[in-house]
Symmetry: C2
Subunit: 116 residues, 2 copies
Amino acid sequence: MAKRVVTIEPTDRCCPSVLASPLDASQAAELASGFTALADPVRLRVLSILAAAPEGEVCVCDFVEPLGKSQPTVSHHLKILSEAGLVGGDRRGKWVWYSLNRERLADLQAALQPVE
Amino acid sequence: MAKRVVTIEPTDRCCPSVLASPLDASQAAELASGFTALADPVRLRVLSILAAAPEGEVCVCDFVEPLGKSQPTVSHHLKILSEAGLVGGDRRGKWVWYSLNRERLADLQAALQPVE
DNA sequence: ACCTCCTATTGACAGTGGTCAATGCATCGA
DNA sequence: TCGATGCATTGACCACTGTCAATAGGAGGT
């Protein structure tokens, strides 16, 4: 009979908290890079549009007109969000479909969670 | 007899949510200004130090050494946090004591709250 | 192969932001 | 009143960032 392998579920996948204890420089830099991605109105609108999309996916071309920004600018912001892990892109034919990474967003949300 | 005036209590003091519905430009700008205040490692460390302070207050002079930044730089970041409503300062004698505005921080946290 | 369409990258520009030295402004004690 | 102390402001510098026009890359269609 094979040995039973037990994998410990990492319940604390979560990032450091701002409110729990003083952050060191590297923890703070890590978190700040996440909030930097959120610190732009265009990118927040991108996230909100993705969150509200019925299929959970939005084509790049469908961002341009609602955001009122040029196509290169939209592509620029999507790249920043992608590098921050907040969205992911999937090329299908000529189009690239972006979707929200809710886990990554929840990590940043948890970093602001009040401690009991 | 005077007319009865009914004031509706605003139960939703809270800011717009990123995940509920697409944000318009002004809502996004409002939220982005909040996250901009969080988008710096020095400021995140300021907030975490304030959150961990036993008395809930920290003197400006007590930030300088832990942060490893000059006094004008610390003052600069405190001003940004103050203008964002995240901290408040109270002058007592020669010293200015800063404290955390947890409600304002909770507002930003709520903006990232997953919708059911 | 060629053309068309969608997306990404480059380059340039103006605006913003973090940093510190120097200085100004209070407050307190002598 | 004077000097010392704590904090804020100014000015300057450099790095970063948002924006768009122009261009490149890639995938289909004819």
